[in-house]
Amino acid sequence: MLHVESLTKSFPLDDGVLTAVDDVSFRISPGEVFGLLGPNGAGKTTTMRMILGLLEPDSGYAEVDGVRTATDPMAVKSRLGFVSASDGVYPWLSVREMLLYFADLYAVDSTLAEQRCESLADMMDIKHLLDRRAGELSTGQRQRVTLVRGLIHAPPVMLLDEPTRGLDVVGVQTIFDYIDILRRGGKAVVVCTHRLDEAERLCDRFGLLHAGRLRYCGTLNELKEQTGQASLVDIFVDLIRN
C-alpha cells in the first residue's frame, strides 16, 4: 500500500550540506501500523513530508497504491491522511464548517462529507461540538477534531507525526484507541514518534532512524534478534552510543 524507496533529501547549510534523510526504504501493508522511530532531528518529519509531497526528494520515491508522489502528487495526496501534534484549527469556523472545508479540499461529495462528518464525530465523541466555534475548544477537544479531520476523506494510508506530543494521559489513550480503529479499518498507518514505550505498545513493525539513515527495520522480535538487546529503549541507546 505504501512503498518508500531510497528516499534521500539534503539541505544546504552555511558550512556544508545536511543530509536529513539518506537512502530510506520501507513498505507498509493494509492494516499494519509502522513506527518510524528516532530521536529529534533523525529525519522522521522530513521523510513524512516527502511522502506527503510537501518536500521534493533529491532521489528515490514514495508510492501509494502504485502511484508515485513525483508522478501524480495530487492523486497521492488524496490517498493520504495526515495528523500532526502541531495541527491547529480555524478559530472562527465551526467544527462542522472546518471538517466540511477539508472534505471539499479532498473533493469529497458534499452529501457524503456530511454523513462522514456525523459518523466520525460520533466515533470520536465530538458530535456535541460540531456547531461550536473551533477557537473555543479545549486542547483535548481540538485533538479529537484534528483526528476526525485526518479521516474525512477516508484515506487508505494515515501518517501520524508525533501524535501524542504534549498530551495528557487521556489524550494519549485517545490516540491509542484511534490507531486501533485505523488498524481494524484496514489502513496502513505510519506513526512518527520518539516515545519508544508508546511505540512498543502501538506498532506492529518498526523503522529505527538515526542521523537520516534507517538503521533497523522489522518487528520487535526481529529487532531484538538482530541487535541482541532486550527492548526498544536498549536498542536505541545502543544505536546512539555506537
Binding site: L55, E56, A70, E97, A107, M123, R149, I181, G185
Partner: protein, 724 residues
C-alpha cells in the same frame, strides 16, 4: 470514545468525486467562501471594517470643523466684523461712513468679490466696562476704532497681531474709507470743473465656466492608498502567515488542491475585505462631510452629494484593492509568523505613501513610463479620473499593467505559500524562490505564464514607445526590421527565458510535435481564406460602432500602405508575416496555451489566449488601436482551435504566415489587384464573389483540420491535467 460500535464505519476506499460539485470553478467559489467567512467573522476585521470608520471620521470632522471655524471666523460673507468704539458718537460716525454708498468699491472690484460686501457691527465697549483696546486684547471684538472728532476727523484702527479676522477688518475698513475719500473728491471735482472726465471707465467681464477648485483629485488618491492598505493588511497576514502560526498550514498543503487555487481564494478574500473597508471609510467620510456641511470644501462645488465621484472612486477602489491585496499576499506568504509579516509590510506601507504624495504634486501626468510604474500609475489615474482629465490609452495601459503586476504577485505568492521555504523548520532565503527546479516539467505552470505576461506588458509598452519615437527618422526597411527584432526580443525571448528558468521541456511547452500533413493543408487553406473573414469582421465592427477608422487614422494607414509599396516583398513577408507567425504562435499558442491547459478547459484556454492576443494588438505605443481587437481576437480563436485540434504549433504558424503574407502583399500590390473590385481603402465589404471563394476555402480548411485530428488534444497526457 465509542470506538467499538463505530469501528466498522471507518471508510477505507477513497471516494471518486462527483463531477458536478467538484468542477474547478465551483470548488474555487467554495474555497473563496470559506476564506471570506473566516475573515469576516474575525473580531479584528470587524474592528478595522466597522468601528474605525464609525469613530474616526466623525472625530476628524469635528476637529476639522473646529479648525475651520476658528480659521475663518469673521471672514465669511455672513459673519460681520465687530468694531469696538468708546463713545456712541464715534459709533454713529463710523456707521455713517460705512453706510454711505460712496464708500462702496467700484463695480469692477465689487464683481470680483461676487458682489458681496463685508458687513460691520459697531459696539460701544464701555457698556461692558472695557476700553476698545482692552476689549481687543480680550478678543471680544475684531477691531478697535478711535476717532478724534477734529476737522477732518482722525481715525485710528487697532487690530490684534496675527488675528485673521482683525487683520481683514482693518484692511476692508481702510479700503472702504479710501473709496469714500476718492468718491467725494471726484464729486467736488465734477462740480467745480465742468470739463472733468475720469481717466477711464472700467467694466469687467468673464468668459468660460468658472473653475471650481476641487480637493477630490488631490486628496482622494492618497486616501485610497491608505484605506485599501489598511483594509488589506490584517487579512493578508492572517490568511497566510496566520495559517502557519495556528498550525493549519501543513494540513492545507497536504491536501490535493493546487496551491494557486488556495492563494486565489485568499486573494479574493483580501480584496473583498480591502474593498469593504475602503467603502466603509469612504461612506463614513462623505457622510460626515455632508452632514457637517463641509462637502463643498472637498468638491469645490455645491453642497449636493457627489454621486458621480463616488462611483468613480468605487471603480478605482477595485484597482487599488486588487493591486495591494496581491502585493501584500506575496510578501506575507513568505513570512512564518505575524511578527515577521508585519516587519515586511511596514516598509511597504511607508513606501506606498510616496506615490500617494505624487497626487498632490501639480504637473505630474499619466504618460510615458509613468503609465507602467506600479502604484504610481494608479494614483495618477485616480487623480486624472477625478479631475476629468484622464485619457483612454494611458488609462488602459495602467489597468492592464496593474492586472499584470497583481497576477505576477499572486504567482509569486502561490510559489512561496506553503513551499519548502515556509514548511521547513530551517531557514530559507528569498533567493530560493528564483532557483531552477530540480525536475523537468512538461509545460510551464500558470504562475510562470502569469509572471511572464506581467513582464511582457511593460516591456512591450516601452519597446513599442521607443519604436514609435524613432520610426519617423528611419527608412521603411529599417522600420520593418526593427519591428521584427522587437517582436523576437519581447514575445520570443521572454517566454523562452521563462521556459529555461522553469526547466520546462521545449517540445511540450511550445507544442513542437510535428503535425499530420493533412492538418498543414487544412491550416494553409484556412490561412488563404481567413484574411477575408478578418476584413469582413473589421468592417462589421466598424458598422456596429466598436472600431473603424477615423479620418486621421485612415490617412496614417494610407501613408503606411504607401511606404509598404516601396519595401522589398521578401522583407515585407519576412518581417510582417514570418516573424509574427513564428514568434506569436510560439508565445500564445505554445507557451501560454500549454500553461493555461494545466488549469483550464480547452474552450477557456482558446478564449483566454485569443483575448490576450487581441489585447496585445490593440495597444501600440501611446495609441489604442481598438479597431484591431475584433479581427485579431477572431484570428486568435481560429489559431487556438487549430492548436488544440492538431496538438502542434506548426499548422497555426502556417495559417498565421499565410494570412499575414496575403494581407501585406495585397497592400503592397494594391494597384495591380484593384481591377478585382475590392475596396480596402474605403473599408467596404468585399465583393460577393470574393466572399464565396474565401469562405469556401476556409470551410474546406476547417473540415480538413477537423477530420485529420479526430482524436483531439485532451488525450495528450502532458496537457490534459484538468477535465476538458
Amino acid at each position: 470514545m465509542s470506538n467499538e460500535s463505530h469501528s466498522g464505519s471507518v471508510p477505507i476506499a477513497p471516494q471518486r468525486p462527483r463531477k458536478r460539485s467538484h468542477q474547478p470553478g465551483n470548488r474555487l467559489v467554495r474555497l473563496c467562501q470559506k476564506e471570506l467567512r473566516e475573515t469576516m467573522r474575525d473580531r479584528r476585521t470587524i474592528i478595522t471594517l466597522v468601528l474605525m470608520p464609525l469613530m474616526v471620521y466623525p472625530l476628524l470632522s469635528m476637529a476639522f470643523n473646529r479648525f475651520l471655524v476658528s480659521a475663518t471666523a469673521g471672514t465669511s460673507d455672513e459673519t460681520p466684523y465687530t468694531i469696538g468704539v468708546e463713545t456712541d458718537d464715534e459709533g454713529t460716525l463710523l456707521l455713517a461712513w460705512l453706510e454711505d454708498p460712496m464708500s462702496q468699491p467700484p463695480d469692477a472690484i465689487l464683481k470680483a468679490s461676487k458682489g458681496k460686501l463685508a458687513t460691520f457691527r459697531v459696539v460701544n465697549t464701555t457698556s461692558v466696562g472695557l476700553t476698545p483696546d482692552e476689549a481687543l486684547k480680550e478678543k471680544k471684538i475684531d477691531l478697535a476704532a478711535q476717532i478724534e472728532l477734529d476737522d477732518p476727523p482722525r481715525l485710528r484702527l487697532t487690530a490684534y497681531s496675527g488675528d485673521v479676522a482683525g487683520q481683514g477688518a482693518q484692511r476692508v475698513l481702510t479700503e472702504r474709507l479710501h473709496w469714500l475719500r476718492l468718491a467725494r473728491a471726484e464729486t467736488i471735482l465734477k462740480s467745480q470743473l465742468n470739463e472733468y472726465t475720469p481717466p477711464a471707465e472700467v467694466t469687467v467681464a468673464k468668459v468660460g465656466a468658472p473653475e471650481k477648485p476641487s480637493m477630490l483629485g488631490t486628496i482622494v488618491p492618497l486616501v485610497l492608498v491608505l484605506m485599501t492598505i489598511t483594509g488589506a493588511v490584517y487579512p493578508a497576514i492572517d490568511l497566510t502567515a496566520g495559517e502557519r502560526e495556528r498550525g493549519t498550514m501543513e494540513s492545507l498543503m497536504a491536501s490535493p488542491v493546487p496551491r494557486s487555487y488556495i492563494l486565489f481564494s485568499k486573494y479574493v478574500a483580501v480584496v473583498v475585505v480591502a474593498l469593504l473597508t475602503a467603502m466603509a471609510n469612504l461612506l463614513a467620510m462623505f457622510t460626515t462631510l455632508w452632514a457637517g456641511r463641509l462637502l463643498p470644501l472637498l468638491t469645490g462645488g455645491e453642497d449636493a452629494f457627489p454621486w458621480l465621484a463616488v462611483l468613480q472612486i468605487l471603480g478605482l477602489l477595485v484597482l487599488f484593492s486588487g493591486f495591494f491585496a496581491a502585493v501584500l499576499l506575496s510578501l506575507t506568504s513568505f513570512a512564518r509568523s505575524f511578527k515577521e509579516a508585519q516587519a515586511y509590510l511596514i516598509p511597504v506601507m511607508l513606501l506606498s505613501l510616496t506615490p500617494g504624495m505624487l497626487s498632490l504634486m501639480p504637473g505630474v501626468t499619466l504618460q510615458g513610463p509613468l503609465a507602467i510604474a506600479p502604484l504610481i500609475n494608479i494614483v495618477l489615474l485616480a487623480r486624472e479620473v477625478l479631475q476629468g482629465t484622464a485619457h483612454a490609452a494611458p488609462a488602459v495601459i495602467t489597468v492592464l499593467s496593474t492586472i499584470g503586476y497583481a497576477a505576477a504577485a499572486i504567482a509569486i505568492a502561490s510559489k512561496l505559500f506553503g513551499s519548502d521555504a515556509v514548511s521547513r523548520t530551517s531557514g530559507q532565503s528569498f533567493g530560493a524562490m528564483l532557483k531552477r527546479p530540480a525536475r523537468v516539467s512538461p509545460t510551464p505552470s500558470p504562475q510562470t505564464a502569469a509572471m511572464t505576461l506581467a513582464l511582457l506588458v511593460p516591456i512591450y509598452y516601452l519597446v513599442s514607445n521607443v519604436l514609435i519615437r524613432i520610426v519617423p527618422e528611419l527608412s521603411i526597411s529599417w522600420v520593418l526590421t526593427l519591428n521584427a527584432v522587437a517582436l523576437v526580443l519581447t514575445f520570443g525571448l521572454l517566454p523562452l527565458a521563462s521556459v529555461v528558468l522553469a526547466r520546462c521541456r521545449f517540445s511540450t511547452s511550445y507544442q513542437l510535435s510535428p503535425p499530420s500533413p493533412l492538418a498543414l493543408v487544412g491550416a494553409l487553406l484556412i490561412g488563404l481564406g481567413a484574411w477575408g473573414i478578418a476584413h469582413e469582421s473589421f468592417v462589421i465592427a466598424k458598422q456596429l460602432g466598436i472600431g473603424g477608422l477615423d479620418v486621421d487614422r485612415i490617412e496614417k494607414t494610407k501613408q503606411t500602405v504607401e511606404a509598404l509599396k516601396v519595401a522589398p516583398a521578401w522583407l515585407l513577408v519576412g518581417c510582417l508575416a514570418l516573424a509574427p507567425a513564428v514568434i506569436e504562435e510560439l508565445c500564445f499558442r505554445g507557451f501560454l496555451f500549454t500553461a493555461l491547459r494545466r488549469v483550464l478547459s480547452p474552450a477557456r484556454v482558446i478564449m483566454t489566449t485569443a483575448v490576450i492576443f487581441g489585447l496585445f494588438h490593440v495597444v501600440t505605443g501611446n495609441m489604442l488601436l481598438i479597431e484591431r481587437f475584433v479581427p485579431t481576437t477572431l484570428l486568435g480563436l481560429i489559431l487556438g482551435w487549430i492548436a488544440y485540434r492538431t496538438q502542434s504549433v506548426w499548422p497555426g504558424v502556417l495559417m498565421h504566415f499565410t494570412h499575414n503574407a496575403l494581407l501585406n502583399l495585397a497592400a503592397k500590390y494594391q494597384d495591380r489587384i484593384e481591377f478585382l473590385g475590392a475596396g480596402f481603402e474605403n473599408q467596404m465589404h468585399l465583393p460577393a464573389s470574393w466572399l464565396i471563394v474565401l469562405t469556401t476555402t476556409t470551410v474546406i480548411g476547417f473540415a480538413i483540420v477537423w477530420f485529420s485530428t479526430r482524436k483531439p488534444a485532451a488525450t495528450n497526457p502532458n496537457l490534459a491535467t484538468t477535465p476538458a
